[in-house]
Amino acid sequence: MKLSGLRRIDQGNLIKEAFDNLPCGICYFNSKGIPVLCNKTMSRIYEAVSGRGLQHISDLESLYKEFHDKENVYSVQYTRDICIVDLEDSSWKIVRRQVEDGRNETFHEFAAYDITELERRTQELREVNEKLANSADEIRQLSENIMWATREEEILSLKMKVHDRMGRSLLIARKTLEKDEDIEQADSAIREWERSIRLLSRASDDEDDMDKDEDLAELMKACEGLIDIRMTGEMPKDKEKSYLIICAMRQCITNAIRYANAKELYVQLYETEDDVCVNITNDGKPPEEEVQEGGGLSSIRSSVIKAGGTMEIMSEPRFMLSLRIPVGEEYGI
């Protein structure tokens, strides 16, 4: 063999060796799908995915269409020209495209890039973000707990002030009585002491949130002299559902007074097997046109939807707000 031939063979081997040792995988197929150039890295990747050698373009194209459930492949995710392959010890992003050589012949190129480190760091960031999100939840929870603690501190501070008042009034009463001074002043001091005792004894009553009956009673109290509320049926036992209904009533009361000059509000409550149903209307002037939801009614709608229910508004022949709220597990307990 001539020296020039040997040199060409050597150069070819060197190029092949360099090509095989590229850190990425690369493979070219001709227009018939036959591999014309493929490095060892790509061959290894495909063999790890499929358990066999790369022989035709359809072998790699199948990665863009199917999910491979192989033992040594954890996942294959694909879009039109990009495919991600997770192997046991590495991750690869395989990008396909068409290229032309200098003679207008088209080849299909598949290039596989090692994204192992990128995937590892992305996963780490995801975990950090999740912790931060949990931290945000923790901060919210802490804030709620702190609000409760602040309110308890407020009650304690009040009790201490009341104790101080009691102490002062006792001292005044004792001094006045010992020195046989102004009896009225002594009486006033003793009454002050009695007031303080009553205040402290009420403070030791259960400080829990209002129950649903108290919520309704307070709304009725607020409406006295303004509008009469006529209710049929019973409020649901579930406190959240009953408060939602009270919020709807409150909004309807405001609108009935403002727009309809109503004197009476009618609230009909009944249950079906699945839902608590509420119809609210009034004796005032019917709407002249279709009722447009303002901020108040929209807010009620959002709350009802969040509770899994529905809300309807009728404008003819008179205004009616209808709610359906799923019974759920809490009801009846």
């Binding site: 973000n129 804030s143 702190i146 009790k159 009420r202 607020a222």
Partner: protein, 213 residues
């Protein structure tokens, strides 16, 4: 003739104590009490009310500052004094924006509340100059700028900087800039430590589900 006072306060003892204070002065008499601020506007429509003592955080987390705004809009002649024990820095501005006539911190004594009531009914608007000062690590709340406090609130209410930046309408870089300044001032090591300290001191109350923003 005594001014009629509506007390809106969800805690029984605090409500009774304010009732006691109202009854101390011959200038005032009780029009009623409510635990839930959301019913206050309706109450004012059907009862003679001259003055409302409105707590900020009421039953079912209903916001007293919002209720104050509704009352001032519907019944501008009714005076409203917002009362709270929380040092949340945003409450003063929000109360002003809602149109509340005056503002009183509950750690004051009875005399100071009566004085605020008297001055309010005389036509004055009585607001503390600033939210009470709160120590934060190496500094105090007075050393933090409005922009820094707004940024910290957005961070506390968001899952990440991107969300916080979106809430503020600025860049993430801007968010980190303000955060780093606050960390430098306070000496806290990271945003978590900072946010925990702020939450513990009630300087910022995070309650994204209800309108405390």
């Amino acid at each position: 003739m005594a001014y009629k006072v509506l007390i809106v306060e969800d805690q029984k003892m605090a409500r009774d104590n304010m009732t006691y204070i109202v009854n101390l002065s011959e200038s005032y008499e009780l029009a009623g009490t409510l635990a839930n601020a959301a019913s206050a506007e309706i109450f004012c429509g059907g009862h003679a009310v001259d003055l409302v003592l409105m707590d900020v955080c009421t039953e079912h987390d209903e916001n007293g500052i919002d209720a104050a705004g509704h009352i001032k809009k519907s019944y501008p002649s009714i005076k409203v004094i917002v009362v709270t024990s929380m040092v949340e820095y945003g409450f003063l501005d929000r109360a002003r924006e809602a149109g509340a006539d005056s503002f009183w911190y509950k750690d004051g004594d009875e005399e100071s509340l009566i004085e605020v009531m008297d001055r309010t009914m005389a036509g004055e608007s009585v607001y503390p100059e600033r939210t009470p000062e709160v120590r934060l690590g190496l500094t105090t709340s007075y050393e933090l700028s409005d922009a820094e406090l707004r940024t910290i609130r957005a961070i506390m209410e968001s899952a990440n900087y991107e969300e916080a930046a979106e809430k503020l309408g600025c860049s993430e870089r801007n968010v980190r800039f303000h955060l780093n300044n606050v960390l430098d001032k306070t000496g806290y090591r990271n945003r978590f430590e900072l946010c925990m300290a702020i939450a513990q001191k009630n300087l910022i109350i995070v309650n994204p589900d209800k309108n405390f923003q």
